[in-house]
Symmetry: C2
Subunit: 146 residues, 2 copies
DNA sequence: CCCAATCTAATTGCAAGCAATTTTTTTATC
DNA sequence: GATAAAAAAATTGCTTGCAATTAGATTGGG
């Protein structure tokens, strides 16, 4: 048995997992000011761009299933940022849309990305490289993942 | 206000967050065979390497705090893979060590990393680049994270 | 020696996150 | 048009993850 392959430092997945968590943590102070969690923030980002969307499409954008999204949307609705409504043309679908309060959150939120990118100790070049490799993995289906 | 910066596709954090989740998901079928979750697996990796460790050090390796680790270790103990014991030299510390059953899990686990890396659609070169950039971010303290 | 500060785990409370199942609606097939 | 299959969201049950707090042990300064 090769013990080396099982060391944390020889894994690729581990730094991916740990870095994702640490970077999300860096958003927290800024998101706290808006009253959003990170997952709520990315859901709002989809809404700020699309104005209105159903739960299934939102899940596809975010790589999240209804078991995660449904309670998340209920919280965003309880906070007054969105409304949920059954689609009268197809009652299976739930349409999510922004309230005025949710729309207004876009402006302060638009200042966050720059604060975060200033905070990451990598060059623009490295950021582009990272972005490309990540999407290469993310866009791949070769192992039968969805 | 610049709307472009708020699009999901223009973020770096989002593909990081999403890719981490998707890659962890690819471990699931292999880890299911061992009866481990991904987080339990990385905790076991630290133990396979160090044999014995206290909760604080384990948390530092994994970037997890006691609120996550304590219940996780209790599950690993209930499954018979580890034992937890107060350090008699300093009763504040809890020492975690492998049982024979936990030790024996190392052999089948050692076959997983290769299966996963075959499954990622990136070259060795890209994997190295990704690894380096991730650790560059992870190792950084400049924004007052821990 | 004593008391305050520090340290370590554990606990609490809440929000993800996901697999599996259920409910309701729509679509296809006969 | 009835019924089976498919589709979408919600629900259930479990684990992770983290901030904040608590409990107990140790250390340091006076």
């Amino acid at each position: 048995m090769d013990s080396e392959v099982l060391k944390l430092e020889n894994q690729l997945c581990f730094p991916l997992y740990a870095t994702a968590k640490e970077v999300v943590k860096r958003y927290k102070p800024y998101l706290d000011e808006l009253g959003l969690t990170y997952t709520q923030y990315i859901a709002m980002m989809v809404l700020w761009e699309h104005k209105t969307i159903n739960v299934k499409s939102l899940g596809e954008f975010l790589y999240l299933d209804s078991g995660t999204i449904t309670p998340l949307l209920k919280r965003l609705e309880a906070a007054g940022f969105i409304v949920r409504k059954r689609d009268s043309n197809d009652e299976r679908n739930v349409i999510v849309s922004l309230t005025l309060k949710g729309e207004e959150l876009k402006e302060p939120a638009s200042k966050i990305p720059e604060k975060i990118s200033k905070c990451l100790p990598i060059s623009d070049e490295e950021a582009r490289t990272l972005y490309q490799i990540l999407y290469k993995i993310l866009g791949d289906n070769s192992c039968g993942i969805e």
